[in-house]
């Protein structure tokens, strides 16, 4: 349901104060319909969700209700107490808050409003924060973590008592994560302080606006929704897929083949923004572009692992239009607008149609001009995916991920935070928590278990009563037991748990580990640094670096040389193919009429597949088997994304092992999955030991999944995150590492002990829920298995099919975890024995 702005109707009734009208007039602008509409609704007491494309003047719209109200407020007389915060603005990025301060400051100054605007982020110095507590600004721009901290302060209620509006920017990106859960709980708390509080959500187009509308208001009564204003998209973007003269590779992600064509495009435009999906791709693309950069164009690199100073310099240069091209990852995804970008190049498949739309919105940040974009598929399957995404963008289809139920680790953090602020009544807090949309369905006994967890760890063995962090006092209120608890809480607030990282410290060449004092180039994941040997060359921050060694929490590097360069692989940052796009790709495979829109070489590839094997119907699952070398291969094409395929691969190999097919390994991509074995799997299927249908039966998601999950490294990693968020173990801070590994208890050890002694502990429950939704993508796998029941098409071949080539090329690039660690040790030990002449 979309409510269209009705400008004429409101114009008469809306009170846009005189100075505003004059200001618009001086600028030669007139207020946009949705801005007036939003103001009218807000003045009518409503909370509102505004969905609009970039460049639609969303920010000003979001702040108009606050600014007009503040403009009419009588001035504070000398001696009168300072007023509290009037408007809270919350954005997912620190940089965005800073940017808004600049952008909002301008009209405020020009209109001459008596309004103070300040930011409060992790970077705000302590004295300024202190001052903000005493003399609050009218508008405070901040992040979800800072809100959590403010709520946990003893004076929170007073600090927020004058609050009128909360403006939530980039709401679509906030709500899909645990940060969104923390924020929803924080909002619920604010509504308890100020029952009349109004929220204004600003969002890009989403699939299910109603979910966001519920999110914005208290769920009492259940299902309550904020108002909705939708601004139709601007000019249709002009998107093309690169139709390369070159051979499009079968597999891989580098898109190296297209470098000359990308470089030409950069030359033809003023400023080009190049998006890639991962930081590794960013490093590679940047390196390749500079190799091609005969004209020495200013081309820069921007990703989340780089040193903040360097990122700020790039952003500044971009704002001054001093750059011709910027290679960037998702750090630049959100609506920060800098400079005059006139071309967006997307290297690699976009993985989701909404993400593509958002990124392309960066070009020509004016709503009425078409954005210009080129998609560069890195391999043949990506050509299909780009085509599907492109069709979707034209159709305006959206595939934002569904919201997930509020996480229990986040709730634990919040409960402790509330207690740090003021003693709480459990019945009251339960109702408050349930008013937050993600927790609307929370059961009372689950809530009580969370409170028990916060108090004493929630263990069946009641050993820790005397060490409780919060205690129920005589009056029935839960109270923090010691000031130290609040201190610890403040250090650990937030839901973003980084992988352990090392600073990359640059030293002069030839100094080795003795070198000191060079600049820090950024951060790198510890587990990657650990696989390097001194002398290895790797790509980072656009430079070739030589690994010297690890010193405390630093990875020491010097200038490297060009030979045998390794590109760091980063955990995360790899988005799986969205369900919507996957379906589109399947549809395209099945419909040869649509192949005309594809580059000739890709269409040929599909034709050849049809001839040599078969192409599945849209709802079918194709499984091919063929021998190759002395092994037997099975390739399945579910198109459900890498995570779901990895989970499927693990489960299938377990089953094949039981069927004595002697599987040796598997590999998964976004599109397909290959398993290889010593025995002929086709013969097994024929003899129905097991049949293919039985192999892919949904019951694999029962015991097999459970058994595998418990030993999986993914579960351990997820547990660590949950344990940190829930406050069971502390975050690691730089410098702390010095105290040595032997004094800290690692999350892995805690996991092992807890799993064997209390497998149904609430934190393990939270971990399993998380892993199923996240790293394992179990729900998607379940949907797929149920969808293809009775629709699995088996094709036995004498040799590899054209469609199977891409995944077969992946084999060997990636190894499968499992008992493999033991065999690595065995290898190392054998080397020693050999060297010592014992064998």
């Amino acid at each position: 349901m979309t409510e269209q702005p009705r400008l004429a109707e409101h114009n008469a009734t809306v009170a846009l104060p005189e100075p505003f009208i004059r200001w618009f007039g001086e600028k030669g602008w007139s207020p946009r319909a949705h801005q007036i509409e939003l103001l009218a609704r807000a003045q009518g007491g409503q909370s509102v969700l505004l969905i609009a494309p970039t460049g639609a003047g969303k920010t000003l719209a979001g702040f108009l209700p606050s600014l007009t109200e503040l403009a009419n407020r009588p001035r504070r007389k000398p001696g009168q107490a300072h007023r509290g915060i009037h408007t809270l603005y919350i954005s997912p990025l620190k940089a965005l808050a800073v940017d808004i301060e600049r952008n909002l400051g301008k009209p405020v100054e020009e209109i001459g409003l008596p309004v103070t605007i300040e930011t409060r982020t992790g970077d705000t110095p302590a004295h300024k924060r202190q001052r903000q507590k005493l003399v609050p600004p009218d508008i405070l721009l901040t992040t979800p973590e800072q809100l959590a901290l403010l709520i946990a302060a003893p004076d929170a209620r007073r600090f927020f008592e004058d609050l009128r509006y909360v403006v939530l920017d980039e709401l679509h990106s906030l709500v899909t994560s645990k940060r969104g859960h923390l924020l929803a709980l924080g909002l619920a708390r604010l509504r308890s302080y100020v029952p009349g509080l109004q929220t204004i959500g600003l969002s890009a187009t989403v699939a299910e606006p109603d979910e966001l509308r519920r999110w914005l208001v208290g769920q009492n009564p259940p299902g309550a929704m904020a108002g909705l204003i939708t601004v139709a998209g601007g000019a249709k973007p002009d998107i093309t897929i690169l139709d390369s003269e070159q051979h499009v590779p079968w597999s891989g992600h580098s898109a190296r083949y297209a470098i000359p064509e990308i470089y030409e495009a950069i030359k033809r435009h003023r400023t080009t923004l190049l998006f890639v999906n991962t930081r590794s791709q960013a490093e590679l693309l940047f390196q390749e572009l500079w190799r091609a950069n005969e004209d020495s164009l200013p081309i820069a690199l921007h990703h989340g692992s780089l040193d903040v100073g360097q990122r700020r310099r790039v952003e500044k240069a971009m704002g001054e239009n001093a750059l011709r091209a910027i290679v960037a990852t998702s750090t630049l995804d959100l609506g920060i607008d800098w400079g005059d970008v006139d071309l967006v190049v997307h290297v690699g498949a976009p993985k989701g149609a909404s993400r593509l739309a958002q990124r392309i919105g960066r070009a020509n940040h004016r709503m009425d001009e078409p954005s210009k974009a080129i998609l560069i598929p890195a391999n043949r399957f990506e050509v299909l995916e780009c085509r599907a995404a492109l069709d979707a963008n034209y159709l305006g289809a959206q595939d934002t991920p569904p919201l997930i139920t509020g996480a229990l680790d986040v709730l634990s953090q919040h409960v402790l935070g509330v207690a740090c602020g003021a003693p709480f009544d459990a019945d009251y807090l339960f109702e408050e928590v349930r008013s937050a949309a993600p927790y609307a369905a929370l059961a009372r006994d689950t809530f009580d278990r969370v409170v028990d967890f916060v108090a004493t760890g929630g263990y069946a063995l009641k050993n820790y009563e005397r060490y409780a962090r919060i205690r129920k006092t005589v009056g029935g209120l839960w109270r923090v037991s010691h000031p130290r608890v609040a201190q610890q809480y403040r250090l650990n607030v937030g839901t973003i748990v980084e992988m352990p990282e090392l600073n990359v410290r640059y030293v002069r060449q030839g100094r080795g580990m003795a070198g000191r004092g060079g600049p820090v180039l950024g951060k790198i994941e510890e587990y990657f640094a650990e696989t390097l040997r001194p002398g290895d060359n790797f790509l980072f921050a656009g430079k070739v670096l030589r690994f010297e060694g690890i010193r405390e929490n630093e990875c020491v590097v010097s200038n490297g040389t060009g030979a045998n360069i390794i590109v760091p692989s980063y955990a995360g940052g790899k988005f799986p193919l969205s369900t919507y796009l996957a379906d589109q790709v399947r549809g395209m495979l099945a419909d040869s009429d649509r192949w005309q829109a594809l580059p000739e070489q890709v269409a040929d590839w599909l034709r050849l597949q049809k001839e040599k094997s078969v192409l599945p119907k849209r709802g079918d699952l194709l499984v091919e088997t063929f021998p190759r070398g002395n092994r037997h291969y099975m390739v399945a094409y579910p198109f459900e994304g890498r995570l779901a395929h990895q989970t499927l691969g693990m489960l299938l190999t377990r089953r094949l092992e039981r069927a004595n097919a002697r599987p040796l390994g598997f590999v998964a991509t976004d599109y397909s999955l290959a398993v290889w074995a010593l025995d002929d799997m086709a013969a097994l299927f024929k003899a129905r030991k097991p049949s293919l249908a039985a192999l892919f039966d949904e019951d694999m998601l029962g015991d097999d999944l459970e058994a595998w999950l418990n030993d999986s490294w993914m579960l351990k990693r997820t547990f660590r995150t949950c344990a940190v968020i829930a406050g069971l173990i502390e975050k690691r801070f730089p410098g702390q590492e010095k105290s040595g590994r032997q004094v800290t208890v690692s999350a892995d050890l805690i996991y092992d002990v807890l799993r064997s002694h209390e497998p149904d502990h609430i934190l393990l429950q939270a971990t399993r829920t998380d892993a199923s939704a996240g790293l394992l993508d179990v729900s998607r796998l379940a949907e797929m298995l149920s969808r293809v029941r009775g629709r699995i098409m088996h094709k036995h071949l004498e040799q590899i099919s054209p469609l199977a080539v891409p995944i077969m090329l992946e084999i060997g690039k990636e190894s499968v975890n499992g008992g493999a660690n033991e065999s690595l040790l065995m290898e190392a030990a054998d080397l020693v024995e050999e060297a010592m002449g014992q064998r």
């Binding site: 063995l461 060490y467 650990e530 069971l728 002694h757 209390e758 190894s815 690595l824 040790l825 290898e827």
Partner: protein, 238 residues
């Protein structure tokens, strides 16, 4: 005492090592057993580490003592030693023995009964554990062996120590494997920590500097079923 014997018998059998002429089984579960002496050594149990941290607000699961005792029970059942030496830091702090749940105390007492049990004093537990049987000693010499908690700075032949919680790391085929380990040079040995919540420190850390002869240094990394003897050149820091 025979140096050459000690050195050549380093890898006589997968899990058998020589220390100052004594034969010892390096058990992959992290204990050292001397068959000729019927002596079992275990180090750094750190019992009640969970409750120790809980006192300071980190409410980690209170099951570490139970888990550690269960594993200790299993190795004692396998070897049936007549002497057991707990090589220091048996409890995570001085109050650990008192805090221990009654059921755990009973299990521990059952393990102790019928053997000679020695509590070597450690830096975490310099005093005798409260109300537990067994003899508390600062160090203990048996045959050519000397058992103490902290390794001596000067080289002492036959010294078996704990305290440092050694682990080792290798990189093989671009993958990193880190495990707890025994570390020795044929003359002396440092044992891995046995407790369920004990972390570990890489044998290449400077804390180990000067303790071993580098040419014969070996890390015996704990595997699921066996130990893996890894020489110094294969080891990685971190």
């Amino acid at each position: 005492m025979n140096f050459s014997l000690a050195r050549t018998s380093l890898i006589a059998e997968a899990n058998l090592v020589g220390i100052a002429g004594e034969r010892a089984v390096c058990d992959p579960r992290g204990v050292l057993y001397f068959p000729d002496l019927r002596l079992l050594a275990v180090s750094d149990l750190h019992l009640e580490k969970g409750s120790s941290l809980a006192r300071r607000g980190a409410l980690i699961p209170p099951y570490d003592t139970g888990a550690t005792l269960l594993r200790l029970q299993a190795v004692i059942a396998d070897y049936q030693p007549s002497i057991v030496i707990s090589l220091g830091d048996s409890f995570h702090d001085g109050g650990g023995a008192e805090r221990m749940h009654a059921s755990f105390r009973e299990r521990l007492e059952a393990l102790i009964s019928g053997r000679d049990w020695f509590w070597v004093a450690g830096n975490h537990d310099p005093e005798a554990p409260a109300d537990l049987p067994g003899e508390t000693v600062r160090e203990l010499a048996i045959g050519s062996l000397l058992f103490r908690h902290e390794p001596s700075k000067e080289r002492v032949e036959g010294e078996i120590a704990g305290h440092l919680h050694p682990c080792a790391r290798i990189v093989q085929r671009g993958r990193s494997v880190r495990r707890r380990c025994f570390v020795g040079d044929g003359d002396r040995m440092i044992m891995p920590a046995f407790g369920a919540y004990t972390g570990s420190l890489n044998v290449l850390d400077r804390a180990y500097a000067g303790l071993f002869r580098l040419d014969t240094l070996m890390a015996y990394m704990l595997g699921a079923e066996r130990i893996f003897a890894i020489s110094r050149s294969m080891l990685r820091p971190g």
